[in-house]
Symmetry: C2
Subunit: 299 residues, 2 copies
Amino acid sequence: MTKEEIADHFRSLQDTITKTIENTDDFAKFKEDNWARKEGGGGRSRVLVNGRIIEKGGVNFSAVFGTLPDKIKKKLAVNSDDFFATGVSLIMHPENPHVPIVHMNVRYFELNDGTYWFGGGIDLTPIYIDKKEAANFHQALQVICDKYNPDFYTKFKVWADDYFYLRHRNETRGIGGIFFDHLNESENLSKDELFNFVIEMGQLFAPLYSEIMKKKANNPYSEQEKDWQLHRRGRYVEFNLLQDKGTRFGIDTNGRTEPILVSMPPEVKWTYQYEIESNSPEANTLNQLKKGTDWLQYI
Amino acid sequence: MTKEEIADHFRSLQDTITKTIENTDDFAKFKEDNWARKEGGGGRSRVLVNGRIIEKGGVNFSAVFGTLPDKIKKKLAVNSDDFFATGVSLIMHPENPHVPIVHMNVRYFELNDGTYWFGGGIDLTPIYIDKKEAANFHQALQVICDKYNPDFYTKFKVWADDYFYLRHRNETRGIGGIFFDHLNESENLSKDELFNFVIEMGQLFAPLYSEIMKKKANNPYSEQEKDWQLHRRGRYVEFNLLQDKGTRFGIDTNGRTEPILVSMPPEVKWTYQYEIESNSPEANTLNQLKKGTDWLQYI
């Protein structure tokens, strides 16, 4: 499987996803922006704003190539200069605080010395944790993981717990999901098999999240619940700007700022020492933002 | 001058500043939070919310010591393990879009091998640039700089232009100010003189900013102007979380998150490809967010 073929499949994945989300939202349409990168390659950003369910959502496809900046070569501990990177990255910020924020990303990276790897991840960030929803989400991921390697789910679930962790807050971002990086032939899977795993996870996203959208989008919510959402979105901003590697990579490789930062929520609040009542649904959610939870127990 | 004396002066500086801002705001009071750092030292955070003029403002004093994390030792290119750091750091987010956001910081750093340095900076971030106001601000800084070294103002003004620059946006954060770091005996000034320079800049802040608050806080503003402010605050968030060294240092040294992130504005908006009309006051401000402007010409 060539890098061009992988990029083509990722481009199609973007199509499938935006179509499904549009159908479910049933109001707004994604606005497309094609862009070229001066140093090589380009991408197709699709952004939906003020939908019936999605207040702001972005699904970005890109396939870029060029010379690796020294800073990144050092970070990746590689010597090759020329890279090719393609991926689909998405984030959805729903209007209703009962619909969780979601992020998904699939990516492929290749160097001119022949090394390559796949990476990706998907994680759900509920404003109010629904254990059953969390269990369903994790179970769907487990099913796909198990098809390729019985260890994948556990390994990648722990990786997500570690990756989507706000150290300065001692909180997980949400209920996690799976995260993986640097997957290559060392996994005893062929390149095609690794690709299939990654693309299956990518294809899972839209039906899985659409289901959640349909179920929760009409739930009534209070001002207090909206306020809690705006504050939780602040955590999302903190994670993406302080820690997220994809955001950093984009910024450091002179990527397009607007599509990269489409991950920023439409409206956010920060209150110093924001107070929530003990035993409230907000406190209940906060108490569950911990690593190591076995969500599958709530099936 | 010992590190304890410097810390004492910085603590008094915090008192002077919060008192002056309270007098000018004439409505809300700073709320104090004393905290201790597990690894050594502590601080005094003062936060004002929902004032008449200041929607959210924080003035932090801290004096911390301990062992330098390897990550920071590497960044600073030092070998000493034990550090002492003290400083005052502040940020003001006014409610009225005609009152600029402001940031000021003075700091002193010492290692157990005897090396020390002072750092600091002050910069103004107007939502709508007022050339005369920018000129007054820079002139006040120039006057202080000139007392210590005729090259300081130019050097530190350029440093601020470079430091307070959002690379991914190709924008300066605002109209700049001065920024300096690693000031020590190599400047041909004694430790006392360097301290005097730093503390003078610190003392300049409150009367200078109070003047601006008084002048602008009663200006009427439109919904559109408020909306522009909420979006410009987004840039402030991006700078502080992606680039600001003080924020990083705090987060990396296991500092207290709430006082560090009091710099986050109370309410923020991000709109994908936010559009502003050409030749509008918003466009006019955006066009002036460039390095190298000689603001003194507008005196």
